[in-house]
């Protein structure tokens, strides 16, 4: 009964490949997010969706494309992976500003 679940937990892939990370929340929250944590542990928001509508799109390369088929799911597709994309990607959900629940993260390694 995990609240925010991400798959896969680990992802190792070669440069140039295309990969997807999936996220699902069973909390009934309206808003979902993708955060990127770099090698220095810095957490930065990438995208935010509210009821399947994109509301935050930070300065992220076009190779990153989020998709929200419904408000319980927010997937992240990455095209033409680069070495610099190696990071931990966290999905999160929230009900307005009162609480954010994070998934356990997906560690992406591009070789």
């Amino acid at each position: 009964d995990t609240a925010v679940s991400q798959t896969p937990k680990y992802l190792v892939t070669q440069m140039g490949n295309d990969k997807s990370i999936k996220c699902e929340q069973n909390l009934g929250h309206d808003t979902m997010y993708w955060y990127k944590q770099d090698s220095k542990k810095f957490l930065k928001i990438m995208f935010s969706y509210n009821n399947k509508e994109l509301i935050i799109n930070e300065t992220v390369p076009n190779r990153f494309s989020p998709k929200s088929p419904d408000k319980a799911h927010l997937n992240l597709h990455i095209n033409s992976l680069e070495l610099g994309d190696s990071a931990v990607y966290f999905c999160a959900s929230s009900l307005t500003e009162y609480g954010y629940t994070f998934g356990s993260g997906t560690r992406l390694t591009v070789v």
Partner: protein
């Protein structure tokens, strides 16, 4: 835009000693403030949060934080640390800008516990 500063990159304390982790925020209105903890290889766990009311907030695992508007601070404290508290701690702020909320994190403070 809101921002958060955690001036201490790395702190080392002895087990049983008291702890204070500093957090300063920059935001025009009253912010919503959070502290999260990340154990090695793990996700983010919410320790406590402040929205309004009593400026001393109690959280899980014996942590507390005090909101001081005059100092734009929200420091995290624990009277006696345990070896299991070794982790990365993040302060975060969200603007109450309805419909466009985003949680902005500080750069984190790594806590090391000496036996």
């Amino acid at each position: 835009a809101q921002s958060v500063t955690q001036p201490d990159i790395h702190i080392t304390v002895s087990e049983g000693a008291s702890l204070e982790l500093r957090c300063n925020y920059s935001y025009g209105a009253t912010p919503y403030l959070f502290w999260y903890v990340q154990s090695p290889g793990q996700g983010l766990q919410l320790l406590l949060k402040y929205f309004s009311g009593d400026t001393l907030v109690q959280g899980i695992k014996g942590f507390e934080a005090e909101f001081k508007r005059s100092q734009s601070s929200f420091n995290l404290r624990k009277p006696s640390v345990h070896w299991s508290d070794a982790a990365e701690y993040f302060c975060a702020v969200v603007a109450s800008n309805f419909g466009n909320e985003k949680l902005t994190f500080g750069t984190g403070t790594r806590l090391t516990i000496i036996p």
